[in-house]
């Protein structure tokens, strides 16, 4: 039976539309708004519990110290690798940035301040080597990654402060450099929290 029929077949009064629409509204609210997300949650929690609960990172003692997907602020301690600029200081209950336009003078002054801070903390590394990604605000304010170059330029400072040799730090950075997804998508990157977690363990030895 084909349902493609000639016009005029549907003869019921227009009031019927109201009734069908109301019932469809309630039904699809339940189906798409309650059943679908709950079934998805059940499947996700059964099949992929770690991922479904936020990819949490634990230290050696088994304490949860963060999520590998959410950056943390290390800017207070120059002996750690620093992440990117975050106007919300990596406060994960929210997300966002200042949304400075490229022509906004506040953007330029913030960058100038970052450069001045860099020169103070890293007297051995000229600003020509300072990658732009390290002193720009990420979109989310929670970016867990820095570029490999952004990690390498911090080694001189960290080596001086911690006494760990530059060579050892370099091999640490290269060990924690993640490749592009499937070898082609996205960018090479270093997870700052994972890197600092190992750095901290080295320091405590």
């Amino acid at each position: 039976m084909s349902t493609m029929v000639h016009e005029g077949q549907e003869t019921r009064p227009r009031g019927a539309i109201l009734w069908i629409a109301l019932r469809a509204g309630v039904l699809f609210t339940v189906l798409c708004g309650i059943i679908y997300p709950l079934v998805s949650t059940g499947l996700a929690q059964t099949l992929f519990p770690d991922q479904a609960n936020g990819s949490l990172l634990k230290d050696k003692e088994g304490n949860v110290i963060g999520s590998e997907l959410i950056g943390q602020s290390f800017s207070g301690d120059p002996s750690y690798f620093h992440g990117r600029v975050s106007s919300i200081d990596y406060k994960g209950e929210a997300s966002g940035s200042n949304n400075y336009a490229p022509s906004n003078s506040a953007l330029i002054s913030r960058v100038q301040a970052s450069i001045a801070q860099w020169q103070q903390d890293n007297p051995d590394v000229p600003i020509q080597e300072l990658p732009i990604a390290l002193i720009t605000n990420s979109g989310s304010g929670l970016d867990p990654h820095i570029t490999p170059q952004s990690a390498l330029v911090q080694i001189a400072r960290i080596s001086k402060l911690t006494g760990i040799s530059a060579v050892e730090l370099e091999s640490l950075v290269s060990e924690f450099t993640e490749s592009r997804d499937l070898g082609v998508f996205g960018e090479k990157r270093v997870n700052v929290l994972k890197l600092n977690l190992v750095l901290k363990e080295k320091l405590e030895k």
Binding site: C32, L47, N104, E187
Partner: protein
């Protein structure tokens, strides 16, 4: 590597668009086929529960009425739930109910497939509202748009038949397209680290001993339909830039393809309906040609970076990284931006407000044209509208009555099309001007000068195109912006859809004109050029002045 990864994504899209278009044809052609057995067990009880006893064809007026009334019911349900959310279950983070103008804006925004968000998900919505209002509307608004597109295509292509039955289309769009796809994509995203839980916000002690709170929730189930339905509203404030919504480049690629595949497949569905697959290729080629131009501009502009930062003496070779995520870099960010505003999704994986002036021009222009792939159904409708216009203009030039797919295009249809085409710039430019003459509008701009103009313009272009991305620096959660953008989204969605359904209804009643040697062909390369020309001509005539005042002027000042 940048170019290669972009080319791969586009290549995959081209490979899946055509077969997907065939699938959609089988869903909406209403001819009996194998998939009826697979989905019938789910559809029969749904038809019974909503009281749909006969599924006969509808007149265009009845179809439009069913569409509007169903949307109205969903708006009512959603509005009530938002206003009462604090007292409903699944509110582990003790979030309050929404105030009236914000609830009005939110509900219009999601029903019209816009997903402009004047709230922030972490602090503004309970888990129940994220599911039963936001996720639900992502399904129903996409299914509504899809149904209308199917009806319009039937009207343009079928000989003397009806445009279909709205409720049947609406149910099938859910059961055969969106629910199965969304479930699969949601699980893939979870496997790739997108969270899906009902637990409250995480609280933990960081490596340095500080306390960090991390918002979490049923993210993946929203994320999948957000893109499949070209909705675009994020679970979190920063949308797909948030590492929980979009944790790695692979999820980024999946999200890009999810939002792009269905709009790109619709031209092929149309080709099947028209019984002339070349018609589908013509529409697809036009969309892809415009898309590639926009993508090139966006990528080049972002890769070249912000001149003001390139001059401070640092290593700025990576490009403009302000507002972008390291895992995506320039290539995946520029591609996402171009696709999300082409497919009128409006999700973002980088902050559009921070784009370089020419990079920001791309999403703005795509929303102004509103035909480069376009959102669920509406993009195809708009492109066919331009196709009819192109035929009409050519007909006038050679002094012949214009025909489209074997039917005469006459003043009645052209009037309706003119209404639909003119409504779009009207509801962008007039409110933008209004925002500049009132303190209510001006007070919300966070960037001064030319960029401020772009901020307001972008907000209304995004509303009118039912896109939903924003220049998020704009402090837009005020009654002025909530109400004006709410109205613009409403008009932007329903005026053009109803006008185009009327065109479809009028075309089905027309005499069939046999094709002759003198018939102007709409299925060849020449027509692709004419169509691109028409789109650009109308777009440029309408929007060039204001684009010069905004992004172009900003570009010239910082160059």
């Amino acid at each position: 590597m940048d170019i290669l990864q972009i080319v791969i994504v586009i290549g995959v899209l081209v490979l899946i668009a055509k077969p997907l278009g065939n699938v959609l044809y089988h869903v909406f052609s209403n001819e009996p086929n194998r998939t009826d057995h697979v989905f019938g067990w789910l559809e029969r009880p749904i038809y019974a529960l909503i009281g749909l006893k006969q599924r006969g064809g509808m007149s265009w007026k009845r179809y439009a009425l069913s569409f509007v009334v169903t949307n109205l019911m969903l708006v009512a349900i959603g509005y009530i739930l938002l206003r009462m959310q604090s007292g409903l279950p699944l509110n582990p983070n003790d979030i309050g109910s929404m105030e009236p103008t914000l609830a009005f804006n939110t509900i219009i925004s999601f029903m019209t497939n816009t997903n402009l968000q004047h709230y922030s998900g972490e602090t503004g919505l309970t888990y129940f509202a994220q599911m039963a209002v936001i996720t639900m509307m992502m399904f129903t608004s996409a299914a509504s748009g899809f149904s209308v597109a199917a009806a319009f295509v039937r009207g343009v292509t079928s000989k003397g038949k009806t445009i279909g039955n709205f409720f049947e289309d609406f149910v099938k769009a859910h059961t055969r397209v969106f629910l199965p796809l969304a479930t699969i994509v949601a699980l893939v995203l979870v496997a790739l680290q997108v969270p899906q839980t009902l637990d409250p916000t995480l609280s933990l002690t960081t490596l340095q001993g500080a306390t960090q709170q991390i918002a979490i929730g049923p993210v993946a189930s929203l994320e999948s339909i957000k893109h499949l339905g070209t909705n675009g509203g994020g679970f979190f404030g920063v949308n797909s830039a948030h590492p929980f919504e979009n944790p790695n480049p692979l999820t980024n690629v999946i999200q890009i393809l999810s939002m792009w595949a269905l709009p790109a497949s619709l031209p092929f569905m149309y080709g099947r309906f028209a019984n002339n697959r070349k018609q589908g290729w013509v529409i697809f080629a036009t969309m892809m040609a415009l898309f590639l131009v926009f993508l090139t501009v966006a990528y080049t502009a972002e890769k070249s970076g912000n001149p003001l930062l390139n001059d401070v003496g640092i290593d700025a070779s990576q490009g403009s990284m302000e507002g972008k995520e390291v895992r995506f870099g320039i290539a995946q960010s520029a591609l996402f931006t171009t696709v999300t505003t082409a497919a009128t999704t409006g999700s973002v994986n980088n902050m559009h407000d921070t784009l370089t002036p020419l990079g920001g021009l791309v999403p703005l222009a795509e929303m102004m044209l509103n035909v480069v792939f376009g959102g669920k159904g509406v993009g195809l409708i708009n492109m066919l509208m331009y196709a009819i216009l192109a035929v009409f203009i050519c007909g006038l030039m050679v002094g012949r009555t214009p025909e489209f797919l074997g039917r005469k295009i006459e003043p009645h249809e052209m009037k309706l099309i003119a209404i639909a085409i003119l409504a779009h710039p009207f509801i962008i430019l007039v409110p933008t001007a209004a925002a500049f003459v009132t303190e209510l509008g001006m007070g919300s701009l966070s960037n001064s000068g030319f960029h401020g103009i772009t901020q307001a313009l972008y907000e209304y272009a995004s509303s009118a195109a039912n896109n939903g991305s924003g220049f998020e620096g704009l402090a837009d959660n005020t009654p002025f912006w909530n109400i004006t953008t709410g109205l613009v989204m409403f008009v932007g969605r329903y005026i053009s859809i109803i006008a185009m359904l009327a065109v479809a209804g009028s075309l089905t009643r027309k005499q069939w004109v046999p094709e002759t040697i003198g018939t102007f062909r709409t299925d060849n390369a020449l027509f692709v050029f004419l169509l691109i020309g028409t789109v650009i001509l109308i777009g440029a005539l309408t929007f060039l002045p204001v684009i010069v005042l905004g992004p172009i002027a900003e570009h010239l000042t910082i160059r």
